[in-house]
Amino acid sequence: MDNLERDPRLAAALRDTYGDAPEIDFAALRARVTAQAELPLARMRKTQPRGWRPLRALVPLAAAAGIVGATLVLTRPQEKPLTQADHQQVEQILEATTPALSDLVAPQGGSDELLNAALGS
């Protein structure tokens, strides 16, 4: 891809003019850089999620869901089992409101009497 060719004469002239970068104490530079980096690196380690820590973000959500669930359970009306007295009361109500079976069966008189009864005559 790089078919750009260097120009040796130009490069030589530039090098003759500017020279190469001087030698410096690279060990000292490295020590300076790494010393300055200690604090930011420590901060990065502190904020870095490890192990279960990625799930930390979900903790507030889980807590909120738990509170909502507990509230629903606690405020839900309790269904108590029916007592014997309840059963008796239900039966009494049914007896009082349900027509007798004989009333539901057609009278012996036949269809004319039924029709008359229906018409109120």
């Binding site: 750009l4 120009d7 130009l10 002239a13 003019t17 500017y18 190469d20 490295r30 300055q36 420590a42």
Partner: protein, 201 residues
């Protein structure tokens, strides 16, 4: 003076992405993201020489160049969250370095050439020849100073620091074709400045 950082500079960035005994840059960058000091030190050790050479081209002074290298590595820590895993680290790093260097140069109104000492002036050619060389250097400096900043940086990175065209394109966030065009224009200008000496040589 010569041969120190300059000799190392011609190694293409791609071949530096993994040391013989070390992790590749991407792995190191990921570890740095997690705050791994050893990984950061490995990156510093891998790139500081070339970074210094480039910084020196940009700043023109040893102390300024060292400061720039240090700032660039600190900027790596600040921005490591934006580094895309799987992308090459070197162009990303040198982009930070070059951008900071250019900004610093602008803000200090510094031209790199002003502070760089005469390179090889004391090597004993005849006084006539030496006078000619001095004049040539002066003309070249003037021509380099007159180049648009981008062209100047491209010449420095390509001709002096050994970066490849695509690497420069990635560092400067421009296309390969634009790098080529700038380099072509810069060479034309510089050769015009050197023409009288080319003939005499």
């Amino acid at each position: 003076m010569s041969g120190g950082t300059g000799a190392a500079a011609v190694v293409p960035l791609a071949s530096r992405q993994a040391g013989p005994a070390g992790d590749d840059d991407g792995v190191l960058a990921e570890r740095v993201r997690a705050g791994d000091a050893a990984a950061f030190d490995a990156l510093v050790n891998r790139y500081m020489r070339r970074a210094f050479a480039v910084a020196y081209r940009l700043m023109g002074q040893k102390e300024d160049a060292e400061d720039l290298v240090q700032e660039a590595f600190m900027a790596v820590l600040q921005r490591i969250g934006t580094f895309e895993a799987g992308r090459p680290f070197a162009p990303w790093f040198f982009r930070i370095l070059v951008n900071r260097g250019l900004n610093a140069r602008k803000s200090r109104s510094l031209r790199a050439v002003e502070a760089i000492p005469e390179a090889t002036a004391a090597h004993g050619p005849s006084p006539e020849r030496e006078a000619e060389r001095t004049e040539l250097r002066g003309r070249l400096r003037t021509a380099m100073d007159a180049l648009p900043e981008r062209q100047r940086v491209i010449v420095e990175l390509f001709e002096l620091e050994g970066f490849a065209g695509p690497e420069i394109a990635e560092i400067l966030e421009i296309s390969d074709a634009t790098v080529r065009w700038h380099l072509h224009e810069a060479r034309k200008t510089l050769k015009k400045a050197l023409a009288p000496y080319e003939r005499s040589a």
